[in-house]
Symmetry: C2
Subunit: 326 residues, 2 copies
Amino acid sequence: MKEFEMIQTYFSGRGPQRKDVIVGVGDDAALMKMPQDKLLVVATDTMVENTHFFTDTSARSIGHRCLAVNLSDFAAMGAEPAWASVAITLPNADEQWVKEFADGLFEIAEYYNVQIVGGDTTQGPLAVTVSLKGFVTEGKALLRSGAKAGDWIYVTGELGESALAVDSKINGLKFPEDIASHIQQRFDYPVARIAAGQVVRHAATSALDISDGLIQDLGHILKASSVSARIDVERLPISHTLYDAVGQEKAISLALTGGEDYEILFTVPEQQKGYLEQNATAMGVKYTCIGQICGGDTGIELLFNDEPFNLKGQKGFQHFSDKEEK
Amino acid sequence: MKEFEMIQTYFSGRGPQRKDVIVGVGDDAALMKMPQDKLLVVATDTMVENTHFFTDTSARSIGHRCLAVNLSDFAAMGAEPAWASVAITLPNADEQWVKEFADGLFEIAEYYNVQIVGGDTTQGPLAVTVSLKGFVTEGKALLRSGAKAGDWIYVTGELGESALAVDSKINGLKFPEDIASHIQQRFDYPVARIAAGQVVRHAATSALDISDGLIQDLGHILKASSVSARIDVERLPISHTLYDAVGQEKAISLALTGGEDYEILFTVPEQQKGYLEQNATAMGVKYTCIGQICGGDTGIELLFNDEPFNLKGQKGFQHFSDKEEK
């Protein structure tokens, strides 16, 4: 079949060829050699057209994002990526699409030294599922469950821009060209904070990556760790671009609730703050303290300059419960 | 969201809870402890509605098959399954569907001691991608590339019944109720030949599972091993049910070219035939010698009682080249 020859052309032998891969693409299953005394780490994410990307999202972006979102899970665990299986479902054998998808995929795979060891190509509505494998030293993985009252809450990078890209697409908002292309880039090519995760895992008590929005994802840490949190809204890392594009109120709303950021949210005890500062450069991205973990199960308290902050015009303290499951 | 609570209800904590799983469902990624001196094995398969199953295929069958087809890859490698990630894309949150899917999935997971360690649930056209992980002793994996001229060609079980189920569905063929329900069962609930794979790996030079039809899949072994093959058509393991349902000619055609069998095709040198016979019981399924590997690159020669066999009315020797890529 044409399709399989095409896949062969664009995928076979491309990207990193790791020494720990004994059998890659082409047999019933792939065989890899695990490093001794490490745990196997596995993350799996599916992307479906019209749910996770738009019909006009470029194939190159889809190739990038399907691996990036899994790398982001690895970053949040402090894990080292190694091998990926890529299952692609395509409505038809569009050679140009496959070529661009493969370009996007292998560009990021190359950067993080991830070998594509297998997968599947099937016919059907456009969707991609990547299962990423790698390793982490036993006892060193960053879980969601270790946050303690008193820990400081940090986040890497800047929040809300990717959500604005989604918002502007859905609601047809128009921005000046430089802003439009900047936020589009943030959505299309999220950066996985692998280097940051490697530093953070020595200092943090808990971590996860922000994919569904700060408030919702922080809720997962609170639930897993049985704690509450205070967020100082004025400290949120929001870019000038975002402020200029939508104003303060909307910018804060996007930073708190917008998804697709793929930044790392993590909690650090007072005595480990110094470690972070000493290793700031190695993180490869800025990080910001945005609040503190508290005891109890009162959810998330939002403050703006120490005053209760109302999100979306609600009055009084804004408490978010953590009923959502990821 | 309702959907996530539902998934939680039907998936959380179900099935085998293996001691080698450090962190299962619920964090950014799963963490597993690998046995020392084993290679990691990974197989990934996607099933899409209207491509791999029908709109009226039961959710329980889909739950079974999505794991079974990956287990079949493991069987063909002589590998031991351990953990699976299950990515489900669903058009809507149909609780009854999810319940039945989970029933089918966990029934087979239980049988093979596979723990579901993660995955993803997304909205979109119905599809399931399973990435199965496990292990095999280094140097003991059965590849496609080891067949040698003179090796005998074997196949487990019986061929063609599952393909008849597909054929009858697509072409609206009617059969007596007992035959109809038997072939439907064969399609809906394929058995992964894990036990057979564990025996075969000590005797065979190559193996794979038959998912696209004997002829096409044998072609993969021939290509990977740079050899040819002779198939003795009269030896093909075809059930009385299949003969009775469609007659000899069609039965042979289905056995040679029909897909979805999930039986193991393997090659054994003369001196290892005895090992197979001694361990026949441990294989848990019958096995049949159907031909022999030959040198050269002349593809597959079909004989019926030593006379050239014409498939689909073609004259003369039937040679199948191995241009197909899986």
